[in-house]
Amino acid sequence: MSHPAPAGPVLEVNGVSVRFGALIAVNQVSLSVARGQIVAIIGPNGAGKTTLLNAVSGFYHPYEGRIAFEGKDRTRLQPPDVAALGIARTFQNVALFKGMSVLDNIMTGRLLKMRGSFLLEALYWGPAKRQELEHRAFVERIIDFLEIQAIRKTPAGRLPYGLQKRVELARALAAEPKLLLLDEPMAGMNVEEKEDMCRFILDVNHEFGTTIALIEHDMGVVMDISDRVVVLDYGRKIADGPPAEVRKDQAVRDAYLGVAHE
């Protein structure tokens, strides 16, 4: 996985606003994510974190501002195009394909890497079969990496929540993303599961060099694993910097502890 890495930030969000009618969910937020970094986006409920992530992945289109990926503008792309650029993500409420096995779920992450040849696929013959087996081998490496060998044939809908989150991460990793967006990867997990997930996130970052932007509420986790922390409140960015600095920031403390807004 050694791409010739272009210089400059992987993701650049520039003055982006997202509105729903009169509600401004994200208000002129700018941030940049450098290659190889883990950036955490935090903020109280309703701060616009997920909306921002949805704008990056193409579900919402910003009302103003620009989003650039590897230096190229991609503000108006649709989700499948965003996926084709090399951005993968997980969802706050696990969005697995519940009727499919864990293995098939992760295999869907390889869809963009597969070439279509309808007739050969209908016959499951030659290149079509070889392609299936190649991608299966790759997916098995991810299954080993995330330690989910035992459940690969289990329908995803039958798994406990913590494992579902892990399978969702596996599906995102199967796409070999350049940028991985994680929306609350540890929500609803117990301490042990959180530790596992932290280790996986750090391993992904170290071993594959994947750039990661994540939303998380657990402050301990955020401070431990992220290189930079961006804080949103009421749709605006109120702080941006290394964890130690953000921790001391007065505006952040106000946002979390509550201060009368004028």
């Binding site: 992945s57 989700p79 965003v82 084709a84 697995l96 992450g109 696929e121």
Partner: protein, 358 residues
């Protein structure tokens, strides 16, 4: 040799991804396919072939087609009868316009014609989902039947408004038309459904099937991994309609011999949908089981009083038959809403652990 999975270890991804990973399944299915080609034409009488096996095979093909669309891609359709009609009328027009054309090519081309129409009526699926989509496909059903009734060109201006299957041969044997022996028509129907069932299985276990199921299970997550909803849904509509089209052509050419549009009315759409639901959504095996259940059970029920030595009036018998049939459908849907195929799967899982309960 007991039928169970335990102790069969796979040493390559190829063997793990096989259609039938269990040895006993492979042996049984292979034997069953060979037996199906050889035994009934030699042993079964014309009644069995004509009244039971041929319609079973044709409806199995249609049910596989609808299952690809509804069971795998999650798009509810009530247009099956209409798409089958497209296949039947295309086959009729093709055989009469090009008498030299091989009947196999005619069936395949009729399927393609149905696929084209299916694509067209699949376009609303981008915006409409679930029951609302079913209503939109209902439009296809009524429009197509109306069209074939209204435009006499489709029936070659026949005053009766019926289409009739002409005699056509494959390898010197007459397989369609009034002079075709039932055994020949049976083998023809079996060959088609065997090949296309395998094709369907190959599609659903690969790239295309996974993108269908992704759209079915979570369309938002599917988009974010790069599945394009419109393209994927239209592909499902096209392929599904192809299957239904071929089945429709077969219905006239191999089973009925001649037909009016009445043969493809809304009941046909419901019938195939029931097969898919009772057999199991999202299962090729389920399509077979569903077709068998719906086609074979009424025939079995009809013969039951006679074989039990009971005598009753035909009308009473018909009523009782319908009541038992309806009751059994309800029973199966309550016991296992995921269909007969799921029952089979549960049985298999139990056997894996047998004789231990856990």
């Amino acid at each position: 040799m007991i039928y169970r999975e335990a102790g069969q270890f796979k040493t390559s991804y190829a063997s793990d991804q096989a259609v039938f990973p269990i040895v006993q399944d492979r042996v049984f299915v292979l034997a069953a396919v060979v037996a199906a080609f050889v035994v009934p034409p030699l042993v079964a009488g014309d009644y069995w072939l004509q009244a039971i096996l041929i319609p079973f095979l044709i409806y199995a093909l249609a049910a596989i087609g609808l299952n690809l669309l509804t069971g795998y891609a999650g798009q509810l359709s009530l247009g099956t009868g209409g798409f089958m009609a497209v296949g039947a009328y295309s086959a009729f027009k093709l055989t009469t316009a090009f008498p030299q054309l091989s009947i196999i090519a005619v069936f395949l081309l009729s399927g393609l014609a149905a696929a084209a129409i299916g694509l067209l009526f699949g376009i609303p699926s981008l915006r409409i989902k679930g029951f609302y989509l079913a209503v939109a496909t209902l439009a296809a059903q009524f429009f197509l039947i109306w069209l074939f009734n209204k435009v006499a060109w489709f029936t070659n201006y026949a005053s009766s408004g019926t289409i009739t299957a002409p005699d056509r041969t494959v390898l010197g044997v007459t397989v369609t038309g009034p002079n075709a022996p039932a055994a020949a028509r049976y083998v023809m129907a079996l060959a088609f459904v065997a090949v296309f069932a395998l094709v369907a299985k190959n599609l659903v276990r690969g790239r295309i099937g996974r993108s269908w199921m992704a759209i079915r299970d979570r369309d938002i997550a599917a988009e974010i991994i790069g599945v394009r909803p419109l393209r994927t849904k239209l592909l499902a509509f096209g392929i599904s309609s192809f299957y239904c089209g071929v089945a429709g052509a077969e219905l006239v050419f191999l089973y009925l011999g001649s037909a009016e549009t009445l043969a493809f009315d809304i009941n046909q759409s419901f019938l195939v949908l029931f097969m898919v639901i009772i057999g199991g959504l999202g299962s090729i095996l389920g399509s077979w089981l569903g077709a068998a259940f719906i086609i074979l059970l009424p025939i079995f029920l009809t013969r039951l009083p006679h074989s039990l030595g009971l005598t009753m009036s035909v009308a009473l018998q018909k009523q009782i038959e319908l009541m038992i049939f309806g009751g059994l459908i309800l029973f199966f849907l309550i016991v296992e809403p995921h269909g007969l195929a799921r029952l089979w799967q549960i049985g298999k899982e139990k056997l894996r652990l047998w004789p231990f309960p856990h």
